[in-house]
């Protein structure tokens, strides 16, 4: 417990809100957590996400600090999971596989090239030939001639984790207000009915913060959940695709999540047929045994994103805004949460502070009128 404890209001009970509430309670602070959605958190990006902690795979589609924070996550998650003392297995770390359809072999080669470029060394990944692939994942289609094993990557049973975090928050005396949307100003959370005063407030509403934070945009993602007992996977598998990487993550109760599309749109309407075809055919490519799997869920959500696709923490008197974790929620949450905790307690920051506390990227750079040359 720190020397100085505060009353802290948190807006947004997604992954960041729950982790922060839990950690702040453990440090002796008084915490109130608010969310526009329900207890289950089914509206949050954290619920829709597949819960991968994949620093190498994500390095390929982002910047180097994302990889560094991801490595931190690989050490922090097991500690946190231990601390939660869950009866169910929440954390798995047996690496992940990257394969490609024979016609997309160039995409796999490009992925490997990017990995080398960003990471520099050959640490943490290796090529596997077909027998080695079959040995690791016997139920994977035998048409894959080779694949990359990313040895250290992990994944979370994320929905159960969100439940457990909430249960723990309530056990520690955190005050929770669900279906209670709030806006944010320094020291205050408020809505039409009431104002709540705190020593400090933390805004982690994701896309929900957009009305107050126009720099945040939503990036649409669509995922499919299927259930089948016909096959098992022991680790996430990524399938290269010319437009985005698709991943299949095994979940409890013979469930598999496949995601995710990435579309520059703030549309929350149901999954498109095209996306559904792409996701389904990717599953079928990985193993024909998926053909008789049952589709049990189709989810759509928006990833909270700034223009540089990187997370930002903005700290001022009585207010911390943290947002923009984009497609990297579970990957970046440990580094981001540790940094916010350091900010709250005035402690020495993490090595990621300079990156996380950069100013937001500028919104616009040119005149309103888009046409430089008129007829």
């Amino acid at each position: 417990m720190g020397n100085h404890t505060e009353s802290i209001g948190i807006a947004g009970a997604g992954l960041l809100g729950r982790l922060l509430a839990w950690q702040l309670l453990l440090r002796g602070h008084r915490v109130s957590l608010f969310d526009a959605g329900t207890r289950e958190g089914i509206d949050s990006a954290a619920w829709t996400a597949a819960g991968m902690v994949a620093p190498l795979s994500e390095a390929v589609v982002s910047e180097r600090p994302i990889y560094d924070m991801g490595l931190f996550a690989l050490t922090q998650w097991p500690l946190w999971i231990n601390q939660l003392e869950s009866e169910r297995t929440l954390w798995h770390q047996q690496g992940s596989l990257v394969v490609s359809h024979p016609q997309d072999e160039a995409e796999l080669a490009q992925f490997h090239r990017e990995l080398q470029y960003i990471i520099g060394s050959a640490d943490g990944y290796q090529w596997l030939d077909r027998p080695a692939l079959q040995n690791l994942e016997p139920d994977l289609s035998d048409r894959f001639q080779r694949g990359l094993l990313l040895e250290t990557e992990g994944f979370l049973n994320n929905r159960e984790l969100l439940n457990q975090l909430l249960a723990t928050i309530e056990r520690l005396g955190g005050e929770c207000h669900f279906e209670c949307p709030v806006d944010v100003e320094p020291n205050t959370l408020y809505n039409a009915e009431r104002r709540y005063r705190f020593d400090r407030v933390i805004d982690c509403r994701g896309v929900g913060a957009k009305p107050q934070q126009p720099a945040v945009r939503g990036v649409r993602g669509e995922v499919l959940h299927v259930r089948t007992r016909e096959l098992a996977l022991h680790r996430p598998v990524r399938l290269m695709h010319p437009r985005y990487q698709l991943y299949i993550v095994p979940k409890p109760d013979h469930r598999f999540v496949i995601g995710a599309t990435q579309i520059e749109s703030e549309d929350r309407s149901p999954m498109s047929l095209q996306s559904s075809l792409e996701l389904s055919s990717a599953l079928y490519t990985l193993s024909p045994a998926f053909a008789e799997a049952r589709i049990v869920e189709q989810s759509v959500n928006l990833r909270p994103t700034y223009l540089d696709n990187n997370p930002h923490i903005q700290t001022s008197d009585g207010l911390i805004r943290v947002n923009g974790l984009f497609r990297h929620g579970y990957l970046l949450a440990p580094a981001v949460v540790k940094q916010v905790l350091a900010d709250v307690e005035g402690a020495e920051g993490t090595p990621f502070a300079p990156f996380l506390q950069r100013p937001l990227p500028e919104m616009s750079s040119a005149p309103e009128h888009p046409f430089r040359h008129s007829p």
């Binding site: 589609v61 982002s62 910047e63 016609q103 490009q110 990017e114 470029y117 945009r217 939503g218 649409r220 010319p242 437009r243 579309i263 520059e264 749109s265 703030e266 549309d267 309407s269 498109s272 095209q274 223009l307 540089d308 696709n309 990187n310 990227p361 919104m363 616009s364 750079s365 040119a366 005149p367 888009p370 046409f371 430089r372 040359h373 008129s374 007829p375």
Partner: protein
Amino acid sequence: MHPDPLTLYGETFDSRFLLGTALYTSPTIMRDALRASRCDIVTLGLRRQNPGDRSGDAFWQYIKDSGCKLLPNTAGCKSVKEAVTLAEMSREMFDTPWVKLEVVGDDYNLQPDPFGLVEAADELTKKGFKVLPYCTDDLIVGQRLVDVGCEVLMPWGSPIGTGQGLLNRYNLRTLRERLPNIPMIIDAGLGAPSQAAEAMEMGFDGILLNTAVAKAHQPPLMAEAFADAIDAGRKAYHAGLMERRQTASPSTPTIGQPFWHQS
């Protein structure tokens, strides 16, 4: 005034480089690449962003803010009807009659469907659009597109995203020579600046690409490399390339060399 502007549908542009806005790691990296490319025209696709309810506005506004002319495309459309509908939607949204017309004939390599393309170009031109058709390098297809009113052609170098460069130089040269007054922009398939320079040396009027820049380790640097190559190729075209010859012809006189070293 720039001495060598690119003229398309009566509008002039300083740059002969057109850049796509897909596949970048982030919008800020895209913007840096656009700046480095010095381009005046950017393409953007809206097929999958549910244009009807404008859900892509946040991203599109950012592209608009680049100051470049917007060239909406119909990427992903497989039928004439789809392409025409999307073109009409994009005209309304972006307040421009310009459209990069794509009608996909093959799902896997996104090869243009020449029959659907001509039909859609005909329909759109009649509706007042300024159509820039993404086509193959086939002369007859090019001729038919011009016949229905296209004032610009955008033949591929090779299929989209392959980086194969100019696969059929004979066809491209034929197209260039037989339709000398139609501005032609090589669209798709270029992977290296040298390939862009080659196309410009052949007399093509501009280059449109996306993947080669967006997928580079450093997209802004690659954008600049392409811009330089396009300028170099254009200058070389104006300067006039020498003819290739079968035998070496020394550029320094051989007088003074012993005769047994001559021949």
